[in-house]
């Protein structure tokens, strides 16, 4: 799939933008603070209904304005779909084909993107929460069931944590209700763990293939799902459910004492191993960078496999940070199949010869100018 065109109204530092893109590579060129990341962010919001850099939707609205509109036409195998996100002070609306969607979860999945920003190196180096977020965002895009399970799980987790806090002050504790919440949590938790394991196996396959290419087979990349559940990979959903129930039961006293849920997939992690050694602890900077790149690029193939279409790739300031060999591999992976938007302050450091006829846009204070050809509004 690819984004044919984009319209922005009162979005960040864009007042009124109307632009058509190349189905191949689009380069967004501009000085600092001109709106390059803002534009990628708009495309990301069009896909995910939320920003990758803020939880506060109101920040997306242009200062002194009351509502922001993002519209895009997405070209898919089955035709072109107009998508729209509106944000105002009261909330947001998501429209597919001009029809408002009652639930945001119904909207997500229409248009898939993968974003790669310098912060993504934290995927390897950062805290477990970074990797969980990655897993949840990416798998949620390709599988409606996963997104649903996740939504239910989060609601139940909030309720359960609140109830645990309330139990701290109660004389006669109603543990039957806690039990019910535990069962509910375990049911969705087991499904989430099961799905994560399946998707991670697929992702591992593609990521390793890339890692081997980039390192000329010197490095084998494997994933390990870190969880308190035993033998998780070989268990059925029912077995995972029983284990999780049991772990929650064992932890009850401590949970009430701490007022928080101590078992479940919201505490799990993913480890990346090169030749069997954890990259986070033992990897060199270069290895960590390659791993992050392989994992992200593997997402492209996983999405293709799960949804039948390639996603759109957003690269924020990363290409120039990669050496020539990694740039080559990245460009080879996306060539002729993945629509790509990449931002950069200048074209030096970018292996331009590898990029076939890119569309180049100069960004200046929220205005886009297409190179050589006509002016874009």
């Amino acid at each position: 799939m690819y984004l044919e065109s984009l319209t922005l109204r009162d979005y960040r530092n864009y007042e009124d933008l109307n632009v058509s893109f190349s189905p191949a590579i689009n380069i967004l060129l501009g000085e600092n603070a001109q709106g390059k990341t803002n534009l990628l962010e708009a495309i990301y919001v069009l896909s995910m209904t939320r920003s990758h850099r803020t939880n506060n939707d109101k920040e997306l609205i242009k200062w002194d304005k009351t509502a922001a509109i993002i519209q895009g036409r997405v070209n898919k195998q089955l035709g072109t779909v107009p998508l729209e996100i509106q944000v105002n002070s009261k909330g947001k609306k998501a429209k597919v084909n001009h029809l408002e969607q009652a639930k945001l979860s119904q909207y997500i999945g229409q248009f898939n993107v993968i974003l790669f920003a310098p912060e993504d190196l934290a995927l390897v180096k950062g805290a477990p929460a970074v990797r969980r977020r990655f897993v949840d965002m990416e798998f949620g895009q390709i599988n409606a069931r996963y997104l649903y399970n996740l939504g239910q799980y989060r609601t139940i987790l909030k309720q359960r944590n609140q109830y645990l806090k309330q139990l701290q002050h109660k004389k006669n504790q109603d543990l039957v209700f806690l039990d019910v919440l535990s069962d509910q949590l375990a049911a969705f938790g087991a499904e989430i763990v099961h799905q994560r394991l399946i998707f991670l196996k697929q992702l591992e396959f593609w990521a390793n293939q890339l890692q081997e290419e980039i390192t000329q087979s010197a490095e084998t990349l494997t994933f390990e799902y870190a969880t308190h559940l035993e033998d998780a990979a070989d268990q059925t959903i029912e077995q995972l459910y029983a284990q999780l129930q049991n772990d929650l039961k064992k932890a009850t006293k401590k949970e009430i004492f701490q007022g928080t849920t101590l078992a479940g997939p919201h505490r799990d992690d993913v480890r990346f191993l090169i030749n069997g050694k954890n990259v986070q602890t033992y990897g060199s900077q270069g290895q960590q960078r390659t791993t992050a790149l392989s994992v992200k690029l593997a997402e492209i193939e996983l999405m293709k496999e799960e949804t039948g279409e390639y996603p759109v790739l957003l690269l924020d300031d990363v290409l120039s940070e990669l050496d020539d060999m990694r740039q080559t591999h990245l460009l080879k992976t996306i060539q002729n199949k993945v629509q790509t938007f990449l931002t950069t302050p200048n074209l030096s450091g970018i292996a331009r010869t590898l990029i076939n006829e890119p569309k180049i846009f100069h960004i200046n204070q929220g205005n886009l100018l297409e190179e050589e050809e006509h002016t874009v509004d």
Partner: protein, 199 residues
């Protein structure tokens, strides 16, 4: 400029209603001044009467003019079944169907610790008392919504009631009648498939 006091007070009152902010309240207040005096009097009377003359039924928790309510005091209704719902308006919807002739029990909410609603904060104790004092009760049909909280409430009730040997059932969730499969979202379809019945 300040609004004259009667208007200011009216605006303030309107703002106490759910979903009504300052702007709408002001519009409603000015609309009210332009209404016929008779209509305004009726309106005011209905407000007071709704509050004074309506009570919660001491048996089922539904809103009613007399206590116990019509349904609870109707001996021709099937005394072996009770449908448990979240709100009085759910009773209205089920009654409109005219197919069900058993009893009701209104919880006035669902279990939701975040909203400060634990087992003792919704109408559960009275349901249990009711079941204990009515030995001919055979089936409790739980019709809470298909939200995580509605499900938790349903599971909780079933744990309390089942050990007493009373049958507990849950309303099926799935496709709306007359809705097209094509337009159902994936989770609704999934739930509908999960809850399919043999024919």
């Amino acid at each position: 400029m300040q609004y004259p006091e009667p208007i200011a007070k009216l605006i303030e009152s309107y703002m106490k209603l759910p979903g009504i902010g300052g702007k709408t309240a002001t519009r409603l207040a000015f609309f009210t001044i332009d209404m016929d005096e008779d209509d305004v009097t009726d309106f005011a009377k209905s407000l007071i009467s709704a509050k004074r003359d309506l009570h919660y039924c001491s048996i089922c928790g539904n809103i009613t003019e007399e206590d116990p309510c019509q349904i609870c005091s109707d001996p021709s209704r099937d005394q072996t079944k009770v449908i448990v719902v979240e709100e009085p308006k759910d009773v209205m919807s089920l009654e409109k169907m005219k197919e069900y002739h058993g009893l009701y029990h209104v919880l006035h909410g669902v279990l939701s610790p975040i909203e400060g609603k634990g087992p003792e904060d919704i109408n559960i104790t009275s349901l249990l008392t009711r079941l204990q004092t009515h030995p001919d009760m055979q089936e409790v049909i739980i019709a809470t919504n298909a939200t995580p909280e509605g499900e938790a409430t349903s599971m909780y009730l079933s744990r309390l009631i089942k050990p007493a040997g009373i049958k507990v059932t849950r309303l099926a969730h799935g496709l709306a009648v007359g809705s097209d499969i094509e337009y159902a979202d994936e989770m609704t379809l999934f739930k509908a498939i999960e809850g399919r019945t043999e024919i």
